[in-house]
Structures are given as structure tokens and as C-alpha cells.
């Protein structure tokens, strides 16, 4: 038990690394996904095919293979990154495809008739976007975004393979140097579980604060998280 307590500070530090890497990647991924969806809506004719290709490629391949390409493959072109940089970059790109699809579904959930009605009343495109589409789409998206952020946190464990000193790497290090297994692995599972539960609780709070939330889609998504 004493041994276990002695490990807690190291795990707390590693948890911060996991949180930092995955939250930076998630923020970049949300921004990227939002931008991708906005561009796809604005330039539908030109961008539909490249957008589809991007989403198909990213979602069809395991994150680990993408990380390997970025970390070990890109140096061939002279693009060299540290393990942490490669993780953040590849995780952000990976997540952006998923976030873009969430925003796409969110925008599709706003009935077209509302925009046509707004147009008929002379509401500008920007005002309609800000006051009609955005609030409803965000209300739809928030639970799904939270779910995706949890997936990003879990996916970040893969970074241990390229020696990013996050939770999984730290647990493996402790196991290798002390030959104790149960303590470090128990702490590893508990640490991840606490992180993902915290995000899911925060998301439920955030969801409760946004209006327009009592649609069937959101209730289904809440159940899923």
C-alpha cells in the first residue's frame, strides 16, 4: 500500500502529460473540424470530393498507423518532430476528421425550412448562421464532441509506443524498473477512468447549460456517453 501511494505523484505528473497532449489535440481538432465543415458548406461543389477523401482516409486507418507515418515516415521529407509534437499533430489531424463529421451531422440536423424562412424575412446569411444555425447545431454537437474528446484521450495512450512520457508509458516504465505489476497497472486503469469520467461529467454539466437541448438526438447521445 505504501508502495502504491509512493507512485501517486508520478502518475499525477503523467496524467497531466496525457491531459495536455490530448486536450491540445482536441482543441486543434475541434477548430480544424469546424473549419473543414464550414469550408465544405461554403464551397460544396469543389470541396465535397476532397472532404470525403480526407474523412475516408483518416477514419479508415488506425491512429497508430497514422502516428507511425508522421513520426517515422515524414523525416524522409525532412519534416522531423519530437515524439510529443508528432503525437499532437497526428492526433489533431485524426480527431479533426471525426469532429468535422460531428459538425456535419449537427448542421444537417437544423431543418432547411428555417433558413428559407429567415431568407424570406430578409435576415442576412450571417445573422441566420449566428442566431439560427449555430445555437441549434452546437446544442446537437456538444454531447457528441464530449464523447469524441474522450476517444482522443484514450487514443493518446498509443503515444507511449513512441516514448511520450504519458500515463501508459509511465506505468510500463515503473513495471520494468520495479518488477511490480498489480500496483502500477491498477493505478493506470484508475487514472484513465477518472480522466474520462471527469470529462463526461463536465460535458453533462455543459450540456445542461445550453438551451434547445431536449431533442431526441441529444437524449440518445447523452445515453451513449
Amino acid at each position: 500500500m505504501d508502495n502504491l501511494l509512493a507512485l501517486v505523484p508520478r502518475f499525477a505528473g503523467a496524467m497531466l502529460v496525457t491531459l495536455e497532449v490530448s486536450l491540445i489535440a482536441a482543441v486543434l481538432g475541434v477548430a480544424g473540424g469546424f473549419a473543414l465543415n464550414a469550408l465544405r458548406l461554403r464551397y460544396a461543389r469543389v470541396l465535397a470530393a476532397p472532404y470525403g477523401l480526407f474523412v475516408w482516409l483518416i477514419r479508415g486507418m488506425p491512429y497508430l498507423s497514422q502516428l507511425m507515418i508522421v513520426y517515422f515516415g515524414l523525416p524522409v521529407f525532412g519534416i522531423t518532430m519530437t515524439a510529443v509534437q508528432a503525437t499532437v499533430v497526428s492526433l489533431a489531424i485524426y480527431a479533426s476528421a471525426y469532429f468535422a463529421e460531428i459538425f456535419r451531422a449537427a448542421w444537417a440536423s437544423v431543418p432547411r425550412g428555417q433558413l428559407e424562412a429567415a431568407q424570406a424575412f430578409g435576415v442576412s446569411r450571417w445573422a441566420a448562421f449566428r442566431a439560427i444555425e449555430l445555437p441549434q447545431a452546437l446544442a446537437f454537437a456538444v454531447p457528441l464532441l464530449a464523447n469524441q474528446i474522450i476517444l482522443v484521450i484514450k487514443e493518446s495512450a498509443v503515444a507511449s509506443i513512441i516514448t511520450v512520457p504519458e500515463l501508459t508509458m509511465t506505468a510500463s516504465d515503473i513495471v520494468a524498473s520495479t518488477y511490480t505489476y498489480i500496483g502500477p497497472y491498477a493505478l493506470l486503469i484508475v487514472s484513465y477512468w477518472l480522466l474520462t469520467q471527469a470529462v463526461s461529467l463536465l460535458a453533462q454539466r455543459a450540456t445542461a447549460m445550453i438551451p434547445f437541448l431536449h431533442t431526441a438526438a441529444n437524449e440518445a447521445a447523452n445515453k451513449a456517453t
Partner: protein, 220 residues
């Protein structure tokens, strides 16, 4: 680096990558198959009247969905060997992935079970069918029909998640990629080839699910 050379080299990787892909496919199929039955078991636990069983099912699902597959696999592989019961990597991988997908499948199947009209089960009980007969002959066939697209997308997720079994020394597609990369010193093309193999598998699976959905829709 000209194109014919590149193609010739990629072709030379094919046999080994194909071998790895077969391991990945077998492992994922075994995990999804076992996870299906385990998922039904967990769902029946969570739907039971016993609060203890229902609570245990909730904890199981929460832990497996709330932690990374990689962490689960490390535990499955190293913990038994620490307790004096060494398991080969492939067995640990199969058990770990099965237990992981069981948690997700219990949720997918649960939605299917809830979609069945209560009247059917009441009618079956009236006809003196046993609980087990009702489950396997009345509920499960309908549940599979309704949830098949979701189960296929779970299979896709497991194929992708299985890439991390390379860490517990299973020679799957990803591991073959790592071996080829360190023997050829051409990480970019090797990892890209491996990734394209994954893409082919996941695309075929999602195409199959798409066809099934269209057929089901045209029949309805």
C-alpha cells in the same frame, strides 16, 4: 526514387503484409464473435432485477469504455504472467479485445433488445417457452437483424483498435509493418502500405454493411 522501383518494392512487401493482415482479421473476427456472446451476457446482467448484477454490469461497461484498449491489453498480458500464469500474446490479445468489444456490444445489443415489442415475450411466456428459449429463438435473431450495421461498425473499430496488439508481441499487420520498416529502412512507404491494408479492410466492411442496409431498406 522513381515510380516503377517504388511499386516493385511495395509489391515485395505484399506477402508479409498479407500474412499480418490475416492475423489482424482472424484476431478481430474472433474477438467480435466472442464479444457478441459476452455482450449478450452483460446485457442480460444489466437488465436483471438483481441490483448487484446490474451494478456489476454497469461497472464493467464503464471501466472498459473509459480506459484505452492499449492499457487493457497490457494488463491482460503482463498481469497473468506476474501471477505465474504466462499467456501467449495472441491469447491475451484475443481475450482483451473480446472483453473490450463485449462492453460496447452490450450497449449496441441493449438498444436492439429494447426495440422488441413486449407483447412477443409475453406471448412466448404464455406458450410456456423457457426464458432461455425466448432469448435465443425470439429475441436474439431480431436483435441481430436490427443491430447488424452497428455491429459491423463495431467490427471496424476492433480492426483499427487491434493495431496496438503489436505491443504485446502479436505479429499482426502493424507489427509486420514495424519489422519491415526496421529491415528496409523505408518507414514511409512501409507504414503507408500497412495503413492502406487497414483502409482496404475497413472499407470492405463498411461497404458490406451499406449493402445490407440498402437491401433491408428495400425489403421493408
Amino acid at each position: 526514387m522513381n515510380a516503377p522501383d517504388l511499386l516493385a518494392r511495395c509489391a515485395s512487401y505484399l506477402p508479409q503484409l498479407l500474412d499480418g493482415a490475416l492475423t489482424t482479421l482472424r484476431l478481430s473476427a474472433a474477438a467480435v464473435f466472442c464479444g457478441f456472446f459476452a455482450g449478450i451476457f452483460i446485457y442480460t446482467m444489466s437488465a436483471s432485477e438483481s441490483r448487484l448484477l446490474a451494478g456489476a454490469a454497469r461497472v464493467y461497461v464503464s471501466v472498459f469504455r473509459g480506459t484505452p484498449v492499449l492499457a487493457q491489453l497490457l494488463v491482460m498480458y503482463y498481469l497473468p504472467s506476474a501471477l505465474g500464469l504466462a499467456v501467449p500474446g495472441i491469447v491475451a490479445a484475443a481475450i482483451g479485445l473480446s472483453m473490450n468489444t463485449a462492453a460496447y456490444q452490450s450497449q449496441i445489443l441493449g438498444a436492439g433488445f429494447r426495440s422488441i415489442a413486449r407483447g412477443q415475450i409475453e406471448a412466448a411466456v404464455t406458450f410456456n417457452l423457457k426464458r432461455r428459449q425466448v432469448l435465443w429463438h425470439i429475441e436474439v435473431p431480431q436483435v441481430v437483424r436490427v443491430t447488424l450495421p452497428a455491429l459491423v461498425s463495431e467490427m471496424i473499430d476492433i480492426v483499427k483498435a487491434s493495431a496496438v496488439v503489436s505491443v504485446i508481441s502479436v505479429t499482426d499487420l502493424m507489427r509486420v509493418g514495424q519489422q519491415l520498416s526496421s529491415s528496409t529502412y523505408r518507414p514511409l512507404e512501409v507504414y503507408t502500405c500497412a495503413a492502406l491494408f487497414y483502409l482496404a479492410i475497413t472499407t470492405l466492411l463498411s461497404f458490406a454493411a451499406h449493402c445490407y442496409e440498402r437491401r433491408a431498406a428495400s425489403r421493408a
